[in-house]
């Protein structure tokens, strides 16, 4: 071994928030040309570690060393000066600005006197977009893009900084296999050119594919690291959860009458008519690439977007209904972007969790009890194992995965007849993912209908009975899950492009 200090080293970092210990005595080091994956259950402290490394949080004790010299970052700008760049778990983009402006934010090319160099800007933008294979007008407003495209922009921005040290916090949670492959490919290239990469993810297949080393966090502690051949799904799960996951019970599927009927549904952005039905007890997946219109379809069914065509739930015609009527008719939508669509982050867990179902507790004139909603919130927190199990803290104090549990819990508690889910297990750890999958299955066993969109092929294949594949808002076909493969889905999803 040489005596050169590692590129970055964190030494016995401890970080607490109020009473909660997010990290305790975590140490690890990373060398140039190495890809380290950090895995762990929700709330294990992964994002906190990423934030400490990139200067967003300062640790209570312990320190960060870059190339041998000890650093105390006061903000992320200072970390950036050391070549450390981070893609946050929740997107941080400027919606009222263009793709180009977002991509170059904080590192705009300059001429003299602080003037921007526009031709150079455009050149850099093009090359950044190329890195993630995103074909998009650099002058489009970011606020007009779908979630997946926005995620790709965040990735492109970080990749293009050619940082010495790149930290990615769940970058692939909403990417489909195609975009994920592009990303992983880029990461390997960067690694070869000597960058160090830290990747946080719950998708263990990706870890197997690219990680040189895996660091496992549990309750804020570094409980082990795996290298080379040890990096295997089961080993990782065991290390993370501390036990094996119970195998899924085999199911008997019997479908009843259609509960959700959608006919000739058209929306503003994708004027392609979509018709589908989901029967009682059935689980249907919607698959497609980033921007294929999955979220848009779900939102349109739910009544969030202006639409034409027919939607009904249990014979109840919702064609002209708004969200409120949809909810009362037994429809629920678990949205994709939890920070903007799912939660009011500064409000308490209790307020957030009880919101959609609060009307059930209201008296004749809409009056509420002093403790209205508290019981519901307690129940959700307990059933979904939210950590820490408190309902009085603001939702922003929960880790990403735990926030997701609140979003799911608050809707499932309403016991809806038809559940629409958009990326249901985004950012959720393997254990909780199984738990959520189990609940979704239970729903269908009790005769409910489930329609979900997911970018994760494993989830699409294992959780659904049928798969509807979308491409550019058009239904490309329907596949039976038991008889299809990932390749077949992808072929359909990219169908539009291949024939071009």
């Amino acid at each position: 071994m040489n005596l050169r200090p590692p590129l970055l080293e964190v030494s016995s970092i401890t970080k607490t928030f109020g009473g909660v210990t997010a990290l305790s005595e975590v140490s690890f080091a990373i060398e140039p040309g190495e890809i380290v994956a950090i895995i762990g259950e929700n709330g294990a402290g992964k994002s906190t570690l990423a934030k400490v490394m990139s200067g967003v949080h300062s640790p209570d004790s312990g320190f960060v060393t870059v190339a041998g010299s000890r650093c105390e970052f006061r903000n992320s700008a200072e970390a950036a000066e050391y070549g450390i760049s981070r893609i946050p778990q929740e997107l941080e983009l400027c919606d009222s600005m263009t793709v180009e402006e977002n991509l170059l934010l904080g590192r705009e090319p300059l001429k003299s006197m602080g003037r921007l160099d526009f031709p150079e800007c455009l050149k850099m933008t093009r090359s950044a977009l190329e890195m993630v294979d995103l074909k998009i007008d650099p002058h489009q407003l970011v606020g007009d893009l779908g979630h997946g495209q926005r995620q790709l922009i965040a990735i492109a921005r970080a990749l293009h900084t050619s940082a010495r040290m790149l930290i990615l916090d769940e970058p692939t949670a909403t990417l489909s296999p195609l975009e994920t492959q592009v990303l992983l490919h880029r990461l390997i290239e960067m690694k070869k050119s000597g960058s160090a990469i830290v990747m946080i993810t719950h998708r263990l297949a990706e870890v197997e594919e690219i990680a040189d080393r895996v660091i496992v966090l549990r309750d804020g502690e570094n409980v082990g690291s795996l290298e080379g051949k040890e990096i295997q799904r089961d080993a990782m799960i065991r290390c993370m959860v501390g036990r094996d996951l119970s195998p899924i019970e085999p199911e008997v599927s019997e479908f009843g009458d259609p509960r959700l009927i959608v006919r000739e549904l058209m929306t503003q952005d994708h004027p392609e008519a979509v018709s589908l039905q989901v029967r009682s007890g059935e689980r249907v997946a919607i698959a497609g690439l980033v921007g294929s219109g999955r979220s848009e379809l779900l939102e349109a069914i739910f009544g969030l977007r202006p639409r034409s065509g027919h939607v009904s739930v249990d014979q109840c015609d919702l064609s002209r209904a708004g969200v409120k009527e949809s909810v009362r008719a037994g429809l629920a939508l678990i949205p994709e972007e939890r920070s903007s669509q799912g939660l009011a982050l500064q409000r308490s867990v209790s307020e957030n969790a009880s919101l959609p179902g609060l009307f059930r507790e209201a008296g004749r004139f809409g009056t509420l009890d002093r403790h209205a909603g508290a019981a519901v919130a307690q129940k959700i927190v307990k059933e979904l194992d939210v950590r820490p199990p408190r309902t009085d803290i603001p939702a922003s104090d929960l880790s990403g995965g735990n926030q997701q549990k609140i979003v799911i819990g608050k809707w499932l508690d309403l016991n809806p007849a038809v559940v629409l889910l958009d990326e249901p297990t985004r950012g959720v750890d393997v254990g909780a993912r199984e738990e959520i999958h189990k609940r979704i299955r239970d729903l269908s066993f009790s005769g409910k209908s489930v329609l979900f969109a997911s970018s994760e092929m494993e989830e699409v294949l294992s959780l659904s009975h049928r798969i509807i594949v979308l491409s550019e808002g058009k239904m490309m076909g329907t596949l039976v899950s038991a008889e299809t493969t990932e390749e077949e889905i992808m072929a359909l999803a990219t169908g539009g492009e291949i024939h071009e």
Binding site: K324, Q341, A344, Q346, L355, L368
Partner: protein, 321 residues
């Protein structure tokens, strides 16, 4: 509660200092006056805080006070319509205008600041136009009616509860109940905290918001009535000028964030009282030049806000990001 400790401390401090310097401060006549004035501005503050909690703002408030305040004596005395009709008509009008603000903000998705800024111009302009800029008032008549604004319920020989205070208490209790103990109130706060999320939860965002604007305008109308019943006369060009700023200041001092989703009724009352106590103190204490009145008010508000912030930081609950 934590949010308003600082303001409350400053209010207490101002009261103690004034009482110490001027013996007149604690006379029952003065306390009665203070209670009446704070009540009037408290009603305005509570009104606007509903709108602020949704993340909106209402700038039209001062002009609406002008509209209602000037039309009341005009319709009753000059036109000769019976008082009950006038009062209920004008309150309905206020409610309607509030609803209109709500419709423009929600259905046409215009910025609340712009909509109510237009209201600020239009209501004052219309009032001035109708009255051709002439002062109106009750003259020596209408004493029964006027007791709504300046009447009192005697408690001791020298002290009586001003009627506006009683109205304020009712309004405050109602507002508190509405905000904390009804579905509507919870939805209002949810909208202010994250409108998209609220919409995703099936909350009828537009309806609730319209309600908030309507309540704000209605309370403004009530305050406008009480104020003109108290003063007895009103000038279209300056009646209610800047009241929107006093009301918003009271609401914000009382812990409402202009980004929405936060605020307590009790805080707004403390905020409204602080401004009135200050103005009273400036007259009572010799040696503060009246011309500098505004400077003193501004400075004390600033001190209150900073105290508040420092206290909150001390309590360590303050976050960085």
């Amino acid at each position: 509660m934590n949010k308003i400790k600082g303001i409350f401390a400053v209010l207490l401090a101002v009261m103690i200092i004034t009482a110490f310097i001027s013996p007149a401060f604690l006379t029952s006549y003065n306390i009665e006056n203070l209670l009446r004035r704070s009540a009037l501005f408290g009603i305005l503050g509570i009104g606007v805080s509903f709108v602020i909690m949704t993340g909106g703002i209402d700038l039209s408030l001062g002009s609406l006070v002008c509209l209602v305040g000037c039309l009341t004596p005009w319709l009753i005395i000059d036109v000769g319509i019976p008082a009950p009709w006038v009062l209920s008509g004008l309150l309905l009008l206020s409610l309607g205008l509030g609803l209109l603000h709500g419709v423009l903000v929600t259905k046409l998705r215009l910025q609340p600041f712009l909509v109510t800024l237009c209201g600020l111009f239009i209501y004052r302009g219309v009032t001035r136009g109708i009255l051709s800029d002439q002062t109106v008032g009750f003259g020596t008549s209408g004493t029964v009616l006027k007791s709504l604004g300046n009447g009192r319920i005697p408690v001791t020989d020298t002290f009586g509860l001003p009627i506006p205070l009683i109205i304020l208490v009712l309004v405050a209790l109602g507002a508190g109940f509405l905000l904390r103990r009804t579905l509507w109130g919870r939805h209002l706060i949810a909208i202010g905290s994250n409108e998209t999320a609220a919409r995703h939860c099936g909350i009828e965002v537009d309806r609730v918001k319209m309600g908030a604007y309507a309540i704000c305008a209605l309370l403004t109308g009530i305050a406008g009535l009480l104020i003109v019943l108290d003063t007895g006369t009103a000038q279209p060009s300056n009646f209610g000028n800047f009241y929107e700023l006093y009301a918003i200041a009271a609401a914000v001092l009382g812990g409402c964030s202009l980004r929405g989703g936060e605020g307590t009724v009790i805080g707004v009352l403390i905020g409204a009282t602080l401004v009135q106590v200050l103005r009273n103190a400036i007259v009572l204490i010799d040696g503060i030049p009246e011309a500098s009145e505004f400077a003193v008010i501004g400075a004390v508000i600033m001190i209150a806000v900073i105290t508040d912030e420092v206290m909150r930081r001390r309590s360590g609950k303050n976050k960085l990001a």
